[in-house]
Structure formats: C-alpha cells, structure tokens
Amino acid sequence: MSKEKYKLHPISAVINFVKVLKEMIIPFIVVIAVNGFGGSEDSGHWSSYITYGIYAIILIFMLVSGIIKWKRFRYWFEEEELRIEYGLFVKKKRYIPFERIQSLNYTEGIFHRPFGLVKIKVETAGGGATKEADAELTAITKVAADQIKLEMLQAKNKLPEELNDSMEVQPLVKEERRAIFKMSPKDLFVLASTSGGVGVFFSGLAVFASQFSNVIPYGAIYEEIVVFIRFGALIVALAVFVVLLIAWIVSVVLTFINYYEFMITVEDEEIIITRGLLEKKKITIPLSRIQGVRVVENPLRQLMGYATVIVDSAGGSLAEKDEKIRLLPLIKKSKITPILQEIFPELLFNHQLTRIPNRSRKFFYRLDYIWMIPVAGAVSYFFYPFGLFSLLLFPLSYGLGVWQQKTAGYYLNERQLVIQYRLFSKVMVWMEKRRIQSMTESTTLFQKKANVSSIITTIKSGVTGASTTIPHIEKTDAEMLLNWYEPYHKTTIEKEQPVD
C-alpha cells in the first residue's frame, strides 16, 4: 500500500474558481442591477468606482482561494482507507474506509475534457445527513481515477468475510460492455419537447422577476400596457406566444445537452449511466442499493405511448438531490419490460393488477368538494356571470377521481408488491418485500363504513423514505396485505398467477 500523497490536477484551481463564480452570479447580477437603477445620480464621481473596486477584490479573493484550495488538497491510500486532507483556513482530514465506499461517480466537464481529466465523487453508504459525508476530487487524470478504483476493489476483496462468491473481479481486464439502453435522437427530442422543463423555466423567470419587484416601475409599466392593449390584442397574443416559444426552445436545448448520448450498462452488479454533451456524467448505482422501480407516465406522454423509469436508491448524500434517478428518461412503453427484466431479473414485470372496488370511487373525489364548494360559491357570487365557470371544477374533479380509481391497482406475490396509482401522472411502482421498511393500514371513519382501507408502504429513498399508497381497497384485502407483510405469518398467496 503506497503512502505517496497525490495532488489534484492544477486545473482544479480554475474549476474551484468557476464553481464559486457560478454560485455568486445571480446575487451579483441582482446587486449590480439594483445599483445601476438606484444610485445613478452622481455618476462620474470617484466614489462610484468603489463598488467596482469591491467587486474586483472579491473576484481576486475567489481566485486566490481557489488556488489555495488546490494547493492544500492531498489524497492518498493508507490502511485500506482513502485519506483526504484539505481546507482553506482550517486544515481538515477525512478518512474513508474503502469498504464504506458505495460508488464512485465520474463527471467530465468542459474544463476536464481537453486534459483527459475527470471529477470523482465518492459516495458512502447512507448515514451522512450533511453533505460533508462524501468526498469530491475536483480533477484528476483518468489513470489516477482507475488507480482509486483498483485500490478500492483490492481492499474490498481482501476482506475475509466477503470471500469470493462470484467476486472474482479482474478489474483491469474489462469485458466489452454492452449497452442495455441507448437513447435515440428521436426519443431525446420527444423527451426534450414534452418535459416539464418549460414550467421550471417559467418559475425561474418568476423568481427572477420577483427579485426585481422593488426596482421595476410598475406604474409606468401599467401605462405602457394600457397603450399596448389599445394597440391590439393580436400583438399581446403574439408576444405571449413568442415568450412561450423561447422558453420551450431553451428547455429543449437544455434537455438535449443534459441527456445527450444517454446510455446504461450493467457491470459488476452496478448500473452505470453515462450522459451529457458539454459535461459528461457517469453515475454508478450498485444494484444492491436500489429500493424500488417506478414507471411514470404523464398524461401527454401516455397519449404518445412514452414513459419514464425512475429508481429509488438508498443512501447517498443530500448534496446529490437527485436520489430518484431517472434510469430511462424516456422510452416507448412497450420496450420497458424486457429492459427492466434484464436489469432486475428477480422482479416480475408481467402481472395482472387487482383493481379498486367501484364503491370506493366516491373517496377519490369527495374530499375535494370540501374546499371546492366554498371556493366555487364565493367565485360565482363575486364574479357573477363568469364566475359560474368555476362550477366546471365539479365535473372535472369527478372525472379525475374516476380516472384515478380506474388506474389504481396492485399486485403481489411472495416476494414483491406492485402498486399502480395516479395523481395526475400514472405511476407504477415495483418493490421487493424485503425493501419495504414499514406498512400501514389507514382507515377513516367513512372508509370504515364502506368497509375499505388504504395501505401505505414506505421504502427508503435517498436519506429519507418514499411512501406509496394503495388507495381505498377492500378491508379484507388490506388485512391480507398486512398478513403478507408480517414476517411471522408466511401466508402463501395464490390469488392470481402472472399472465404472459
């Protein structure tokens, strides 16, 4: 075991700098904009340059701190641990035992590419509630990255209790990996054009606008708008359309950049996802960490026969918010089963769902009436002629309720539970019995009268849990599910057989 201490590639100083710059850019723009609008009375006076001076000092400080961070950073391997030493003012050390390392995630940004470097993110098992739990090597050569992986595998293999049950890994002789799934450009386009990114962009715009709400002269704008409206509704409509179009194009481009050359391979019990145009990301998820698989179809995509597959992975850091990992960002519904079957051979993907009884239909929409009746009443009253349109909410909500009831269902066999439900998008979740952390039967007074119950299951997802509800099923079925989950009972379920 070598005790030589390694440094990062010098480019990481630049990356550190750019990273801080990225984080600062929004407040920066806001500050500059506010200054520009607000105190432009005595421009030309020497004091107005002070602000620029301050900006320059901040920039230099950021640059220098980036360099120091790089200078101070060391990593080495000792006693089967990855040891890291770092810190700007305070010197910190972190020792991560190799056996605790769950996965190494690689990212190649635009700064990495020209030098053949990668950023490595070391993910440890669960636990860490802070983002301190993980380590990040900003930029190292690919050779060095392979060395870390090699050290890790060696350390893991040396452990006596993990003696080779099929663990005869020969990390250097990599067999040709076969892509299980590759996203075609056409799919990529459909993904981009139907993504919710449009909404995200708009909410971003709204946030940005709200930052400026003090600065924008609303009075003047209002008068402008009045003129504008006189000018013709057509132009207004056109303007709205153009804004929408631009937002859509931006979202398409962003999705395209993020998901370019999306590919999945499975190797050594790990799923490896690579994607990205400018920043090439490589994410590894150990299969043992996957807690549940879900297929999500939003109504638009359902119409076109497309769906998204998401996996819930346990552990990881809060920093990586994306614990629900999009395994297949977009795929034809008909092609999902063979792919999932290949990745998760133990799960059964062909099955017939048990549906929700018709008499529980009322529970799907009735609760909404509690808020809808007063709202619709008030709107109808205050905005008399047009307010009556709010009454349309009732058939709409009824329709959605019926739709939800028709969609919902579940299937279970000895080892797995499958739940299908719809809030608006249709979701189907597969989970193994051994992954379910707890199960709750929930019965309201009204449900009790109708002799139905809901079942809530929780699996681990990220550092917390993800709950899925089977809504309003027969009381006897709910109890059967509890019995199924109860370890002692060992009930055999022969209610239905898989269909083919």
Binding site: S438, S442, T458, Y488
Partner: protein, 159 residues
C-alpha cells in the same frame, strides 16, 4: 379481521395528554383575548365576544376532553418476536407493521411533564421511518427498548 394489538398505553398518559390540551387551550385563550381587546377598542360587536368565548369553550372541550380520550382508547401496541404492531389515530385509524429486521435503533425520551408522571416515549426507527409510542411507564419503556433492540439483532432476514 385481524386482532387488535393487545397492549394499551399507561392510564397516566391520558392525564398528560389532558395537560397538553390545557396548554393548547391556553394559547387559544390568549389569541381570543387578543381578538377581544382589538374588538373592544375598534368594533365593539357584542356578538363577537360571544363567538370568541364559544370557540374557546369548544376548543377546550375537544382538546382537553374528547380528543385525548378517543386517542387514548384507540392507542394499542404489541411487540412480537418478529414485528412491532401499532394502532393509533383520531379520525383516521392507522395500523402500522414494522418488522424487527427493519429496526435500526430504538430511543426513549422523557420531557419534563412526562418525567413528572414517570412516563417516557419510545421511538422506533427504521432506515426510512420513525414510529413513536407516546406514553409508557419509564421502567416499562426501558424494558421494551431493551427487548426490541435484542429482538432486532436476533431477527434474521429470511428473504
């Protein structure tokens, strides 16, 4: 029908909940006094005083008398060799099953009021969820915590 879990909470727990209810009612009372004072200086609607008072009385009835009683009567728990089963809820009855294999750790906790009545609450944590049994005699809670942690260690993953 599945049988209900057998154990109930300590009878003293009901008293503690009533005390919590008293505190919550006091907050409501303060708010209503505030409303009354504002009314005195600005509006002076007589009916508002009455509504104010009635609301506080209703809150007192619900929080001090009815809710604790129903909750206490509903609360059941049972710790078996392989699993823990809980039942609780006011309007919505929830029955939760936690297999021993999933239990990660068990904590007991005791606030000032609980301590005065020699009670403790016990929280069972899995990797994703927390489940609390709110009011047990301290000795019983300690014994239970020990038992669960032993059982959780023994329980084997049979899947």
């Amino acid at each position: 029908m599945r049988a209900e879990p057998i154990n109930k909470l300590s009878k003293k727990g009901l008293r503690v909940w009533r005390i919590y209810g008293v505190f919550q009612t006091l907050i409501a009372l303060l708010l209503s006094i505030g409303v009354g004072v504002i009314n005195f200086f600005t509006g002076e609607y007589i009916w508002l005083y009455i509504v104010d008072l009635v609301i506080v009385l209703i809150i007192a009835y619900l929080l001090i008398y009815l809710f604790p009683k129903v909750r206490w009567a509903r609360w059941r728990y049972e710790v078996r060799e392989q699993e823990i089963e809980l039942q609780h809820g006011l309007f919505v009855v929830k029955r939760t099953l936690v297999p021993m294999v999933r239990v990660q750790h068990v904590d007991t906790e005791q606030g000032p009021i609980l301590r005065k009545y020699d009670l403790a609450s016990i929280t069972i944590s899995t990797a994703a969820t927390n489940h609390t049994i709110p009011a047990l005699i301290t000795a019983e809670a300690d014994e239970l915590r020990g038992r669960i942690s032993v059982l959780a260690r023994v329980a084997e993953d049979d899947v």
